[in-house]
Symmetry: C2
DNA sequence: TCTTGACCTTCCAGTGACTGGAGACCCTAA
DNA sequence: TTAGGGTCTCCAGTCACTGGAAGGTCAAGA
């Protein structure tokens, strides 16, 4: 199948597929006209990449996962380890974003938000101390 | 003050400060030796940038915030609006990561994680259907 | 005075993971 | 024959830095 078909079936943009070929994640054959020819196995790889990328694995992690995927002697423990690591990463990111949100919320709650130029958010951003007189959480 | 001092006081890497000058976020004077000379106002800008970047505002948002920061006639409502938008963005990201985590956790829970090559995580990544026979949440 | 080492300069290239566009070739149907 | 898509390569841009090379400057110590 051509790249367009592969793109629709894998839900990866054409450009992305070409890029994946460039970095060696997939190696379709070429027809006489120079067009890429994707086999069913190529399509499987693309689908695998689509799914693992959308689950937050980096390209290099995907490369590792792919080689495990194609290693029929792999231990499932190896895959599980990578996945557990990823979960911890995701947890870390969530925590970061939550504390970020807390700060932003505090700023917004302290701001009267009208036409006056004085603004506690600005004070916060500029590093000035703000008295925590208002609501406490 | 020189760039090194500005770097320590703003907690921004030297390289980053030079980059910020390149894109016009800060315009330090130059001494006879060609060294950048940061005024107290420049330092304030840098600190402002450090804080707002670390709160997840993009460079362009920082540029907007900076001009509001220096506009003594600004309305605090404008600042509040930008910040509220940012909170929504953060919320969206948190939700995404949470659903990501849910999927990853399901995968891990289904995986026996031993020396055997069969691995439900791999099945999942490759798009194969997995029977939801195990624990339900 | 000389040297050492820290600090500063510019410029260029690389990161990750694509994305956009130009210009050209190929294929199919009307 | 023509029109329209699809495909090709190559180059450049994105975002926000980061690293490194090659060289100029400065202050302290021998």
């Amino acid at each position: 199948m051509n790249i367009g078909t592969a793109s629709r079936q894998s839900r990866l943009p054409v450009k992305t597929i070409r890029y994946y070929e460039e970095i060696g994640l997939v190696r379709p054959l070429r027809g006489d006209n120079g067009y890429r020819e994707f086999s069913q196995a190529d399509l499987e790889r693309l689908k695998f990449l689509q799914r693992s990328r959308s689950l937050g694995f980096s390209i290099e992690e995907c490369r590792d996962l792919l080689s495990l995927y194609e290693d029929t002697n792999r231990a499932s423990a190896d895959v599980k380890a990578i996945t557990c690591q990823k979960i911890q990463e995701v947890d870390r990111k969530i925590a970061e974003l939550k504390s970020l949100k807390r700060v932003l919320l505090e700023m917004v709650e302290a701001c009267h938000g009208d036409d006056r130029p004085d603004c506690p958010i600005m004070d916060d951003l500029s590093g000035r101390e703000r008295t925590h007189g208002g609501k406490q959480h």
